[in-house]
């Protein structure tokens, strides 16, 4: 049922989307570049949040899917002349299959959340070695993707504005998918699994199937966003795309925003990527590492102060304020 | 010796205990009776410091226990035999007993107390090298009581020691408790098995939905029509 509250909410979201879109369009190129990067990381965080947040399985192996998405279409384009769209699709399928294999290995036995994180971290490191050792995928030096005039059929764009539009639409689609999964039966099952695996199993939820399915979706989506990122970067550097550091960053963005919520990864990456870029712009030349040290420090502080992430923190503050002002009213929340 | 003065306690804003007052005197054998979910375990946890009362005072030998951490309460002489035994499963019986005397003030007297426990429950002496997790329920209960005794309690708090035990073991354990009481130990026995509890304790309290509804010596409790109906099925 569409209550007044929901209408307001939908309108608010729509207004924000339009505002971001319009603002993005008029930003100077430097800031627009940051905006595109932020959008891409929002996309990656949203993709990770499907398995890491909704299902509560902290995967640190997603760098492998991002790397496949970035490197495989580039390799296919440069070495075989395969259309980038087709390359993206192939990479997504490869990532999905790999995601199925990894999650099957890890989830076959219920070993707990920490175990999954540790095992997938080993997969990330293994993937890193394999990728930098595979000449076909660019080895340790990666690829340069030359950019020409805009050509949608070949997934080529010339200006930052054009990339902004592409990234923005991809992110909207990713958030849409994420919201849809969240409210679907699968999302409900996943939350049940996250909260209590025994109880979830007891009511007849197939734990393995749910986890593998969501891992496959998450892997494919990560791969697609990785492809867009590669196109935008131009230089497809395995030290960026295949390093476990990229996934650690994404987990942190999501953790700061609020793991397991639809908007947590959006808020987290949307705030932290620009912050990181600004810090780097102002402090990066002064003392290498300072901006990342501050960054790490802030993350630890936020987790200590708002353990559920910013979205939950803000929600509870709002609730507390509401409670303060409406104590006399005896309405029941919807 | 121990006195609870209008203790309130609960979790997440839900009150489990409201206005509970009771006392255990020197050398008393007191029982606290109640059904499941009456709040018995919360009460026991308040005494041992695992749960902090939201209101009220717990006076033991003249000082207030509220806010004192569990390990300090133990070394002050209140030792607990928790519900479900709660032994250290992959330690041997001997190691479990040694853990009972881990408090700094109890360590020097461990050898003699260990000997005392082995005399009290010879079965434990036989099984001293066996892992606690592999003992039978009754043996585990003996080990749990033994562990508490090695701490050198002046007040022994037992949370449902008869739960899930065969009548033979129940008998053995309560005989041991009777001996301990006769030797001067104060006992607070928390039970839902009324017939057993009232056969051994001198007086008792009945806890229902977090409140003390009845108190008195065991004859009074046994003859109370409400108790007879609700707990003894008579």
């Amino acid at each position: 049922m569409m209550t007044e509250h929901n209408v307001m909410r939908v309108m608010g979201v729509a207004a924000t989307i339009v505002a971001v879109g319009v603002a993005g369009w008029f930003l100077p190129d430097y800031y627009l570049g940051i905006a595109v990067k932020a959008l891409i990381y929002i996309g990656l965080a949203v993709a990770w949040n499907l398995i890491g947040g909704f299902a509560g399985q902290l995967s640190l192996g997603h760098s492998v899917f991002i790397a496949i998405g970035a490197l495989l279409p580039s390799a296919l384009l440069l070495k075989e002349g395969v259309n980038f769209w087709a390359g993206m699709a192939i990479a997504a399928i490869v990532s999905a299959l790999l995601g199925a294999v990894i999650s099957w290995i890890a989830f076959r036995f219920r070993l707990g959340h920490l175990y999954f994180a540790l095992i997938t971290l080993a997969f990330a490191e293994l993937g890193w070695f394999v990728i930098i050792g595979t000449e076909y995928l660019g080895g340790a030096s990666g690829f340069f993707l030359a950019s020409g005039p805009m050509n949608l059929a070949r997934f080529e764009f010339a200006t930052t504005q054009q990339y902004f539009v592409v990234a923005f639409m991809a992110v909207l689609a990713a958030i849409g998918l994420s919201a849809w999964i969240f409210h679907s039966k699968l999302g409900y099952y996943l939350r049940a699994i996250r909260n209590n695996e025994d109880a979830a199993q007891a009511i007849g939820i197939n734990l393995l199937a749910c986890k593998v399915v969501v891992m496959v979706i998450s892997a494919a989506l990560s791969s697609v966003i990785g492809s867009i990122y590669a196109r935008f970067s131009g230089f497809v550097d395995p030290n960026l795309f295949a390093s476990p550091l990229i996934i650690i960053e994404i987990v942190l963005f999501t953790a700061i925003g609020g793991i397991g919520t639809v908007w947590g990864p959006v808020v987290g990456a949307g705030l932290l990527v620009p912050l990181g870029e600004v810090l780097r712009g102002h402090l990066g030349n002064a003392l290498p590492g300072l901006h990342l040290a501050i960054y790490g420090f802030l993350i630890v502080i936020v987790i200590l102060v708002m353990p559920g992430g910013i979205t939950r923190g803000v929600a509870s503050i709002r609730k507390a304020l509401q409670g303060l002002f409406t104590k006399s009213r005896s309405d029941v929340p919807a | 010796m121990l006195e609870l003065q209008s203790v309130h306690a609960g979790y997440d804003g839900i009150e489990v205990l409201s206005n509970v007052s009771l006392s255990v005197g020197d050398g008393d054998y007191v029982t606290l009776l109640g059904a499941n979910n009456a709040g018995k375990s919360t009460l026991v946890n308040c005494i041992s410091g695992l749960v902090r009362p939201t209101n009220g005072r717990i006076i033991y030998k003249g000082s207030d226990l509220v806010g004192v951490p569990p390990h300090e309460i133990t070394s002050m002489g209140i030792c607990q035999v928790p519900e479900g035994r709660q032994l250290f499963p992959s330690m041997t019986v001997l190691e479990n007993l040694l853990m009972g005397g881990i408090a700094p003030n109890a360590r020097s007297r461990r050898p003699e107390r260990l000997e005392f426990v082995f005399e009290l429950f010879p079965r434990l002496a036989e099984r001293r090298k066996q892992q606690a997790g592999t003992l039978s329920g009754g043996e585990q209960q003996m080990a749990a009581i033994g562990r508490a005794l090695i701490g050198g309690p002046t007040l022994l708090v037992l949370d449902e020691p008869s739960l899930g035990l065969s009548p033979l073991f129940v008998k053995a354990i309560f005989e041991a408790l009777r001996g301990l009481h006769q030797g001067g130990l104060s006992i607070l026995l928390v039970e839902q098995n009324l017939s057993v509890a009232l056969r051994h304790a001198q007086r008792g309290y009945v806890l229902e939905r977090g409140e003390i509804v009845l108190a008195g010596n065991n004859a009074k409790l046994r003859d109370d029509p409400h108790v007879r109906r609700a707990y003894l099925g008579l």
Partner: protein
């Protein structure tokens, strides 16, 4: 394949692996009493190694001497980790895990700020000493020292756990925290001490690695990983299993580097790790 260097390779793997086991042990110690893991342990190893570097450049202290300083410092750092991170998050493993990812960034980049991004080397008087066994094996002295120290630590740990009140308290907190508190264990204090111990083990691992390993701020993640794999293989809190699994990882690394070229050789430890988990998902030391 040159089999004549096999004994040498195996010995090398065993020796290096024993240090990896120590890193895993430091994680196992913290896990056993708190149920949480900090992924920044490898960065703590880096921290201790750079501390050794500073003590060498500032005071000309040999690494094996400077452990007298790094050990208490890292023990303090371990205790601080418990007090300021794990305790406020009340041991929530997922939160601690996330916070430790932030800690990784913090430590790595503070090291980068202080020491810069180039590789450093700290020599020890024993760095270039070799011991020969028969005619087939020549071992670096630092590695032998590392192995000896690990063995000695394992012995001390065993005796502590089995025969002292302190060790029994540790096991008690691991097996049943509530009961531990009820029999009179100061659970908070035990945790603090064990985290300090975990830091001390890190300091020892750092000192043992220094003479044979160049230092770089970005190496922290690698140390985390080589510690993590033995930890998982041993089922998280079997301390001797962790040390033994460290040797397995060290062996895989040595054999991979010597006998298998390229990416597969470098990633052999990870391949072995994943293979073991496929066939023995509960680790090497549990019968299932």
């Amino acid at each position: 394949m040159d089999l004549s260097i096999l004994p040498q390779t195996i010995a090398q793997g065993v020796l290096v692996g024993s240090t990896y086991g120590l890193i895993g042990l430091s994680m196992g110690l913290m896990y056993s009493v708190s149920g949480a893991i900090s992924l920044a342990q490898g960065h703590m190893v880096s921290m201790s190694m750079y501390l050794v570097l500073s003590l060498y450049t500032g005071l000309q202290l040999d690494p094996y001497v400077s452990v007298a300083i790094t050990l208490p410092v890292l023990a303090l750092a371990g205790a601080a980790l418990y007090w300021f991170l794990i305790r406020p998050l009340s041991g929530n493993a997922i939160m601690v895990f996330q916070a430790s990812l932030g800690l990784m960034f913090l430590i790595e980049n503070v090291l980068l700020m202080i020491y810069g991004g180039q590789f450093h080397q700290v020599p020890s008087i024993v760095s270039n000493r070799f011991i020969t066994f028969g005619d087939a094996m020549i071992m670096k002295l630092p590695l032998l020292i590392g192995f000896g120290v690990t063995g000695a630590l394992a012995g001390i740990l065993f005796v502590t756990l089995e025969y002292t009140d302190y060790g029994r308290s540790m096991r008690a907190v691991h097996q049943n925290e509530r009961s531990a508190a009820l029999v009179g264990v100061n659970v908070q204090k035990v945790r603090l001490w064990v985290f300090a111990m975990s830091g001390a083990v890190i300091a020892i691992a750092g000192v043992l690695l220094v003479p044979s390993t160049p230092l770089h701020p970005a190496e922290g993640l690698k140390y985390t990983l080589v510690g993590l794999m033995p930890l998982v293989l041993a089922g998280m809190s079997n301390f001797f299993g962790i040390l033994l699994s460290g040797v397995i990882i060290g062996l895989a690394e040595a054999i991979g580097t010597v006998y298998i070229s390229g990416a597969i050789g470098l990633s052999l430890p990870y391949i072995i790790f994943i293979l073991i988990l496929i066939f023995r998902p509960h680790g090497l030391f549990k019968g299932h």
